[in-house]
């Protein structure tokens, strides 16, 4: 049963072809990696899926419904969540509130209910707080719950981003370079974490990464982009030995190597 499909997604800015005919089909439980040199169009693909960009051409279907052109908040409410490459947390808000916000879209109380603190609202608020705490415990940030999000370390902020994405109750999770800036131990923990949450939350994961340990380590299938075009796709083993992929990366100084 296809959960998600992107068909011939194309993005053209001015005269520049940022993404050229990107297609992808996902079933529940898939863990797919999207790799390629910087500027290959990976984040642009994400932005098209999440509604931040309107594709110039192409269609996106999620749970049988066409979602291309919908606004980001609508797409999130339908079950697609994302993290950002350059961490966009709510800096001045406490850590726990960063996560609680993801529950807001599902709030049933009206604003009058919130002001008057009706029993329904109080119950919902309690549920949001408890749910957020549970997620914070999973990412080991529970003891920092009241701290200002901006005061967290880089690694902690990355984990918080994942927690708040999970709080939107997604079926499809888009992770944009989740391992960026992590040391080998943190990276290993991240890999275990992704596999665990995929199972516990019954998720499908699409992952952009430069760190090949992560990509080769956990992805079932990999798509390689270069200058917007899909130059290769296959299992990790196939990709590792693909000459075109190697060439594309050798053109770039300082990728976290394939071999």
């Amino acid at each position: 049963m296809t959960l998600f499909s992107a068909e011939h997604l194309t993005m053209i800015f001015g005269g520049l072809m940022a993404v050229d005919e990107f297609s992808l089909e996902l079933k529940g439980g898939d863990l797919i990696g999207l790799i390629g040199p910087n500027g290959a169009g990976k984040t642009t693909v994400f932005n098209m899926i999440t509604g931040n960009l309107k594709p110039t051409r192409g269609k996106i279907l999620f749970k049988g419904e066409e979602i291309s052109g919908l606004k980001p908040n609508a797409i999130t409410r339908r079950g697609i969540a994302r993290t950002f490459q350059n961490i966009r947390l709510f800096q001045d808000l406490p850590v726990i509130e960063n996560v609680m916000i993801s529950y807001h879209a599902r709030l049933r109380s009206s604003f009058m209910g919130a002001v008057l603190q009706t029993p329904l609202y109080n119950r919902e608020e309690k549920e949001m707080r408890t749910g957020a705490m549970v997620l914070l415990q999973r990412v080991r940030l529970a003891d920092l719950a009241s701290e200002r999000a901006g005061s967290l370390s880089y690694g902690q902020q990355r984990r918080l981003e994942i927690a708040r994405a999970l709080a939107t109750n997604p079926k499809l999770l888009l992770l944009d370079e989740p391992a960026a800036g992590m040391n080998p131990q943190e990276t290993q923990e991240l890999m275990d974490f992704i596999l665990k949450i995929k199972e516990d939350f019954d998720l499908t994961v699409l992952l952009i990464e430069h760190d090949m340990r992560v990509v080769m380590g956990i992805c079932q299938w990999i798509k390689v982009l270069d200058y917007g075009a899909t130059i290769a796709e296959g299992t990790p083993k196939e990709i590792q030995n693909n000459p075109q992929v190697i060439a594309a990366y050798l053109g770039e100084a300082g990728g976290k190597g394939i071999a």
């Binding site: 908040n73 969540a81 001045d92 808000l93 916000i101 807001h104 879209a105 709030l107 002001v115 949001m128």
Partner: protein, 351 residues
């Protein structure tokens, strides 16, 4: 956290406040009562204004326009037909306004609803497009209100304005309404809806990505601000008993802007503190505009110097102390207790 303790303390403080007002009614001078009324109304306005600017992070310049609309709406509804006949000497007031006269409390509600509705209409084109434009749209709207008020002889009585309003607004009304506004806005801000607004302020793209319909909550903040500012306008009208277009210039908005910036954009308690400081400070600064002498040197008063000082304060705060007094945080009972403990400790170690 001690929510029960905090609630009791807050309840006690308000009871103390109202007990004080009861005493003041009989014992304070008219000047002092006027200052107190001003404080209450400014607190109300600042806290409402802070909702759209500070909590939701959308820069608006609406207060003078909304206060004017609320003032005129409320005034036109409470004035007796006889009073209206006396005021409208150039052209008579249109029907049905010239025969209506409704109770004060009802006129306030209508004022709030009308203003809130106008806020809603204005928010539509702006928030859907680019929040940046909100400031210029609201600034422009303020000018439009002024122009309309000056020209619409048959409704607003033009430059002559409305006179002879019954001074309904007393300490109970102004502080009572202030309390309601504080309650509503405090609760809203602390709730999930307040969090959504703050998220929009912090990072709108991220907020949308977490499922928040940012348009909806910007509209909510703006409309609620409008509602309370409109009612405050009605209260103001019935406090000073005479209104005309010149009362509602950009100066009012500017003062409120200084208040919320100095208090801390996004802090409701900060607004309360800075409102009081502002009302008292303005009175004190009046001295600068009167002639005074330092010994043998006689300094002539410089009219308008007060506003220059305010403008300089605003720019300085923005450059050097953007957070204002409270920053984004609130003055909680816990903080106050801690502060008192520390001060007490300091005094004890000295003495």
């Amino acid at each position: 956290m001690h929510p029960t303790r905090d609630r009791i303390l807050t309840g006690l403080s308000f009871m103390a406040l109202f007990a004080f007002l009861y005493w003041a009614k009989g014992n304070a001078t008219e000047y002092q009562i006027r200052l107190m009324n001003n404080c209450a109304i400014f607190i109300t306005l600042a806290v409402s204004y802070n909702l759209i600017n500070g909590i939701c992070g959308q820069f608006s310049l609406e207060p003078n326009a909304f206060v004017a609309i609320g003032a005129y709406t409320s005034a036109l509804l409470t004035m007796s037909p006889a009073e209206k006949q006396i005021s409208f000497i150039i052209e008579p007031l249109i029907w049905p306004l010239n025969v209506i006269s409704i109770p004060f409390w009802l006129s306030l509600i209508v004022a709030g609803v009308v203003t809130g509705f106008l806020a809603f209409l204005m928010g539509f084109p702006v928030f859907r497009v680019r929040g940046d434009y909100l400031a210029i749209v609201t600034l422009g709207f303020g000018e439009v209100v002024r122009v309309v008020a000056n020209n619409l002889q048959t409704i607003t009585n033009g430059p002559l304005g409305l006179k002879g309003l019954v001074p309904h607004t007393n300490l109970w009304w102004s502080f009572g309404f202030m309390t309601c506004t504080l309650f509503f806005i405090w609760r809203l801000t602390k709730s999930s809806f307040g969090r959504a607004m703050k998220a929009i302020r912090e990072d709108e793209v991220a907020a949308e990505a977490m499922g928040i319909r940012s348009f909806r909550y910007k509209m909510m903040a703006f409309t609620v601000s409008g509602f309370f500012e409109g009612i405050a306008g009605g209260l103001l009208a019935h406090l000073i008993t005479t209104i005309s277009p010149v009362l509602f210039t950009f100066f009012l908005t500017f003062n409120l802007l200084i208040i919320i910036v100095v208090g801390g954009l996004g802090s409701t308690t900060g607004c309360v503190i800075s409102s009081v400081l502002f009302v008292l400070g303005s009175e004190a600064l009046r001295a600068v505009e009167e002639p005074f002498s330092i010994g043998p040197v006689h300094v002539p008063g410089i009219p308008g110097m007060r506003m220059v000082i305010f403008a300089v304060i605003l720019v300085m705060v923005m450059i050097f102390a953007r957070q204002g007094i409270m920053g984004r945080g609130e003055l909680s009972w816990q903080r106050l207790i801690d502060l008192l403990r520390r001060t007490g400790g300091l005094l004890r170690s000295r003495g």
